[in-house]
Structure formats: structure tokens, C-alpha cells
């Protein structure tokens, strides 16, 4: 992540104030662990201080029968509209950069 931020910072010739990431519920990434590691690593770079802004994305499925999109709660993956069991993930696996807040230098 920090390598990417450094590359973007150089490309825009700008000072980066914050980086925004999207983390899906099923990405396997724990926000607090990511924040802990991120802060620990940033300290030793010229990016410090750099804020990490995390947006959690819930697990959502889409029905293959009626195309309804819905939040999956308690692992209930069947479609709440038509009752079909044939649904597939629409979101929840994300581990993505969303944006950077930069200040032109």
C-alpha cells in the first residue's frame, strides 16, 4: 500500500495527506489490524503523518433469477424477494484503494 502511495505521490508531485481504502466484509482484512500495521510502517517513511480512512463494505449478493441485490446477514444467501437459492456475490471481497487526499507542492 505504501509503495503505491509513494508512486502516486511522485506522479502527482504532491504531498499525500490521507489515503482511503475500501474493505469488504469477506476480504479477510481486519480494519484495526490494518490500521495498526499501516501506522507502524508509515512512521519510518517520508509520508508521515498519513491518515488512513477505511470504508467497510458489507457482504451483498445478487439473485441470478430476479437480479435483486441484497445484504447478506447471518449467512442467509437466499434471495429475500423471490426465495431463490441461486445468488452470487455482488460485493464484500474488496480490498481497494478508493482515493488519496493530496496537497500540491
Amino acid at each position: 500500500m505504501l509503495e503505491s502511495v509513494q508512486a502516486e505521490s511522485a506522479r502527482h508531485n504532491a504531498h499525500v495527506l490521507a489515503v482511503g481504502v475500501k474493505i469488504g466484509e469477506l476480504s479477510g482484512v481486519e480494519s484495526e489490524s490494518l490500521r495498526f500495521c499501516f501506522d507502524a510502517l508509515v512512521q519510518d517513511t517520508d509520508l508521515a503523518p498519513l491518515a488512513l480512512e477505511i470504508e467497510r463494505l458489507p457482504w451483498r449478493n445478487r439473485c441470478r433469477q430476479c437480479a435483486q441485490e441484497f445484504a447478506v446477514e447471518e449467512y442467509r444467501t437466499e434471495c429475500p424477494r423471490c426465495g431463490s437459492a441461486e445468488t452470487e456475490m455482488a460485493s464484500g471481497r474488496e480490498l481497494e484503494f478508493a482515493y488519496m487526499e493530496i496537497e500540491e507542492t
Binding site: 500500500m1 489515503v19 469477506l26 481497494e96 488519496m100 496537497e103
Partner: protein, 225 residues
Amino acid sequence: MTRVPLERKVLSENDRLAAELRQGFLRHGTWCVNLISSPGSGKTMLLERTLASFEPGRRVAVLTGDIQTDNDAQRLARYGFPVRQITTGGACHLDARMVTNALAEWRPDAIDLLLIENVGNLVCPSSYDLGEEARVVVLSVTEGEDKPLKYPATFHRADLVVLNKVDLLPYVPFRMDLAREYIRRVQPDAEIVEVSCTTGAGLDAWRQWIEAKAGSSRKSVNSGF
């Protein structure tokens, strides 16, 4: 202050390498499976039984990942097929670069079936694409039937769940009906086989699953060129 949008995956480097691996596998007609489970659920034993059932000369190779030791590679090498240990030295999962490096000394067109045994861990391996065509999660009956609910990210990506050590069912309070229900809840499309590597029960079904998948992959390669 300006906000610059950056729609990009954090693991894009891994995904890029995994995509390269996948293209290579497709080109050479290699069918690759990634085995994931908690430590001690019997992945290595399952692979031993699998290798033992293959005829000599079968173009199969194994990569096996552990944090330390090459014990698993030594166990698996006895069956006469190429085996390479990936020692991660601390990392709790395999990533696409480790697989790329481990494959570098093998001729890619000499492997029809590549079995990858991931590091024993039900969390992190689920985030790392290794370029595989299928993911298998092994769950042994001594672990408890609620593992799919506790580690949904891993089970959600399973094409097949192997319920292992079923010979121990009389001795443990494991409810097979609940295990199947929990797997279905997290991933309705996953197939399920019940296996005992000790008695050999279910190993035929497991082999058939591999042959059906690997066979259809080869057919599509042949018809594609």
C-alpha cells in the same frame, strides 16, 4: 486539498502475477488446485493418498507450503512425482510470487495437474489468488462443524469441501448434517465429499472430482487449438 480517485486493488501485484500464472496454466493445459485448511486437518495425508493412487508417469506435480521445515515435501516425494516445498519463513499463506518462483525450475508444459497445498490457515490464504482453477477446503471432523460460519471468507471461495477423517465420527460430537448446512449457507455452489484417508472411504469420489475437473480443462485446451 484535492481528492484523487484511485480505483485499484491493494493486492493488484498479487492479482497480476496470479493472472499470469492462470494464463500459463491454460496455455499448457495444466489444471491447478489450491488446497486450504486449518493446520492438522489432513491435507498432506490426502495428497499422499492421492499421489499413491496415480499411475506412474502421470504428469502431476505438488507444491507444498509451510512456515518452516520440509517435512511435508519429504513425505510427498516418496510417491515418485515432482514435489517442491515452499518455506514461507513466517508468512501464513502462499502468494502468487512464491508459486511463480517455485515453478520456475519445472517445464510448464510437463505438468497436467498441479496440486498446491497451502499453509495451514483458514484466514489469510483466502485473500491470495494463486492462479488456480479450483479451490478445495479440507475440514476434518475433529475441528467442529461450525468452521464454515467462523471462517466464511475461506469457505465462500470453495469449489469443493472435503470433510476429512470421517472414520473418527463415532468418537467426536461432529454433526455431519449441520456441517453440510453451514457449508451450503456460506457457499451453496460448493460440492462436498466425505473422506477418510485412514480407511480410504470417499477417496474414489475425491479422485473422480479431480479427474472430471482436470479432464474437462484438458478437453477445452485441445478443442481450443
